[in-house]
């Protein structure tokens, strides 16, 4: 087998060609497998070259360097030190494990894509259930709380509440019966982190739940998951069954006197059911409506019993913290936000997908280094985080290191991890209308600030997008926003104005353009665009009239055509069809 492999990153095709030329000249071409690969560090390095079996990475090599690599390294076995990848800790790394030149760090997704999620053996082969065994072996409940406290893990479901504190409240609560709930409702549009974790590595979440149960003295657990996630449900069911068979769940876990069981509860897909008190009421068999807090679920939750409710990603972190230690975890991230965060990177970005980065990574690094930049190399306009409870972040804030605090300061939130990239073809009025529409549709209707305020605000935004407003409208929007934020019962209503407020903050000009000039530069707000025929250019070919789906265009052959604005639905087909630039969009 020819196991000499040279991999050259695809952003430097000239280096690949140079290798090919030199290897051919020196009659070595049959000794090496020379291949190109797609990389993600495109903006970090001009080139990446990996050489196997030596496991050497060279970065930022230039064309002239290739000769040296071939002569010194390939022929004489001498590593070219000056080209080696360097990181901040060491001057260079010699052979051995390849260095992390990527921006991603996978803790929560440590097994996803590497193991068979339907095989418990597969999970066991990667330290699976070792954390559970460790705490059952020689750890007290207080030790676990301490370890999580040291790690400074905070909830990944949105609010970022310290996990150890939550657990401690439940642990201290006096009750024979306590519960653990895993919140896998994941209702934000554009978010699918939790689904991927459950589909890719269900046991990590189950192990996290068992550890939580041990720590707070709970004997029953529920995973509340939306019915629209059939594959995740199937894998969870298999994982729970296998864990029972192996003795990690059920009576007397691993021969100890600790017992714990997990059941799955299917949610019907309402966004508000992800809110913890609504979720609890849904498990109890009632309508999924929030109730006022306090009392918090940690002391009075499911069936009025003390209940720990955690997000999927929060729980998947737990086994790792126990295994590697709170200190280890605490070193990752920023001062107040520790560990990593998984984002679902979507929208106008080249490499859309799931991304896990240490807290403190900048938005620019995520979008450009990991995401590969904007689709079609268009101009970046904004990135939306936090879904319907979050906001948009403009270009000049892209270097902000991500943390719970920094995103709040920018008027957005971490949220559960949706991250939608927008370019110049996206209209900010349209975007805020989209999110507000979502919140209005999903409002449970229990309290009036959210039910009525949301509806009114949506009407105002619709007026703006249709050109039926004047400047006083902004004040009205601000008044309603503040009422909703202050008086809504649950997070849905309190945060629903966020997308509107943040777009107003960073893109006020665009609102003014809609309100005063009745213009939508991105062309998204249909009511504000007009299609007309330019009399000077129209040759009467009739093509536009044939394309028009609503027969809004009249005019015989060779005559100047005319668009009836009352009939036109602004589909733009005539604009695309005309070969003589005779259809004008304004």
């Amino acid at each position: 087998m020819n196991n000499n492999v040279i991999l050259v990153s695809n952003n430097s095709p000239h280096l690949y060609d140079k290798f090919q030329k030199l290897l051919t000249e020196k009659n070595l071409i049959n000794k090496y497998q020379l291949k190109k690969f797609n990389t993600f560090g495109l903006n970090t390095y001009t080139s990446i070259i990996k050489i196997y079996p030596d496991k050497i990475i060279y970065v930022d090599s230039l064309e002239n360097d290739i000769e040296e690599i071939v002569n010194d390294h390939l022929i004489n076995g001498k590593i070219v030190k000056r080209l080696l990848y360097k990181n901040e800790h060491k001057n260079y790394l010699k052979s051995g494990p390849l260095p992390i030149y990527h921006k991603q760090l996978r803790l929560v997704l440590r097994n996803s894509g590497l193991i068979d999620p339907e095989s418990i053996e597969s999970y066991l082969s990667r330290e699976g259930y070792r954390a559970l065994a460790k705490i059952l072996n020689n750890t007290t409940q207080d030790n676990v709380i301490d370890e999580i406290k040291i790690s400074e893990l905070r909830g990944r479901g949105g609010a970022g509440y310290p996990t150890w504190l939550k657990w401690n409240f439940t642990k201290q609560a006096q009750s024979d019966i306590k519960y653990i709930i895993c919140n896998a409702d994941e209702g934000d549009p554009g978010a699918y982190m939790d689904r991927s974790v459950l589909e890719g590595d269900p046991h990590s979440v189950i192990e996290g739940m068992i550890i939580a149960a041990f720590t707070v003295n709970a004997n029953n657990g529920f995973i509340y998951i939306r019915a629209e996630y059939p594959l995740a449900i199937k894998r969870l069911e298999k994982a729970i069954k296998d864990a029972k068979e192996y003795g990690f769940l059920g009576k007397n876990i691993l021969g100890t006197n600790f017992s714990f069981d997990i059941e799955i509860r299917l949610g019907a897909g309402a966004f508000v059911c992800g809110e913890e008190t609504a979720l609890i009421s849904s498990i109890e068999g009632n309508r999924g409506m929030p109730r006022p807090r306090p009392p918090f679920p940690s002391t009075k939750g499911l069936w009025e019993k003390p209940t720990v409710i955690n997000n999927v990603e929060t729980l998947a972190n737990i086994p790792l913290i126990i295994l590697k230690g709170g200190d280890w975890y605490n070193k990752i991230g920023t001062e107040k936000s520790k560990g990593t965060k998984v984002f679902a990177l979507t929208g106008k970005v080249k490499n859309s997908g799931l991304v896990e980065v240490p807290m403190g990574t900048s938005l620019r690094e995520i979008i450009y280094d990991v995401g590969g930049g904007i689709l079609n190399d268009n101009k970046f306009k904004a990135v939306q985080t936090g879904g319907p409870s979050g906001g948009v972040i403009p270009e000049d804030k892209l270097d902000t290191p991500i943390s719970y605090e920094s995103l709040n300061e920018l008027g957005s939130i971490m949220g559960s991890g949706g991250m939608i990239v927008m370019d110049h073809t996206d209209c900010m009025v349209d975007v805020s209308k989209f999110y507000l529409q979502f919140s209005v549709d999903e409002s449970c209707g229990k309290c009036s600030p959210c039910r009525i305020g949301g509806r009114q605000m949506l009407d105002l935004l619709t007026n703006i997008s249709e050109g039926k407003s004047d400047e006083s409208i902004i004040e009205k929007i601000e008044a309603i926003s503040s009422a909703m934020q202050k008086a809504s019962l649950c997070g849905l209503g309190q945060t629903a104005p966020n997308p509107v407020i943040s777009t107003l903050k960073y893109f006020k000009d665009e609102y003014i353009d809609h309100i005063v000039n009745k213009k939508c530069i991105s062309g998204k707000c249909k009511s504000l665009i007009v299609f007309e025929i330019d009399k000077n250019n129209c040759i009467g070919c009739h093509l536009c009239a044939i394309k028009c789906p609503v027969n809004a265009i009249s005019g015989g052959k060779k005559e100047i055509h005319y668009i009836d604005q009352n009939k036109c639905i602004k589909c733009g087909l005539c604009f695309d069809a005309c070969k003589f630039n005779a259809v004008i969009k304004s």
Partner: protein, 126 residues
């Protein structure tokens, strides 16, 4: 295989049989992979393995690597060669992977992707 650990001791003395070094074909089989056709790719690998009676090769459905834009993703792990990740694999490409990469040990110069991170546990190459 059924296994019940009746004590911590039993658990600690257990060696998972999953560590035997076999060649592996990992097919990204999350919702995103399936939507892009991972099921057909998996079936192709399965039938090719049977057809050619390939031994010592494990075909595994795995979760999402995060590279949703290049699904279906397939990773090939063979002793002696670097782990190789192919993106946008279809049925035809799957057959090529069997022929060229698995049987002839020649990496295919097409749609190779860098793994976007380092493995936390094995700490081997990305």
């Amino acid at each position: 295989m059924k296994k019940k650990f009746n004590s911590l001791k039993e658990f600690y003395s257990y060696q998972s049989n999953n560590t035997i070094m076999k060649s592996k074909i990992l097919v990204g089989y999350g919702s995103c992979g399936i939507a892009a056709g991972a099921d057909k790719v998996y079936d192709t690998f399965e039938s090719e393995i049977i057809k050619r009676s390939l031994k010592d090769i494990e075909l595994i459905k795995v979760g999402c690597l995060g590279l949703c834009f290049s699904e279906p993703n397939v990773e090939i792990i063979i002793n002696g060669l670097p782990d190789i990740l192919y993106g946008k694999v279809d049925e035809k490409f799957a057959v090529r992977i069997i022929d060229e990469h698995i049987i002839n040990k020649n990496i295919i110069n097409h749609n190779l992707y860098d793994k976007p991170y380092i493995d936390l546990f094995n700490n081997k190459e990305s």
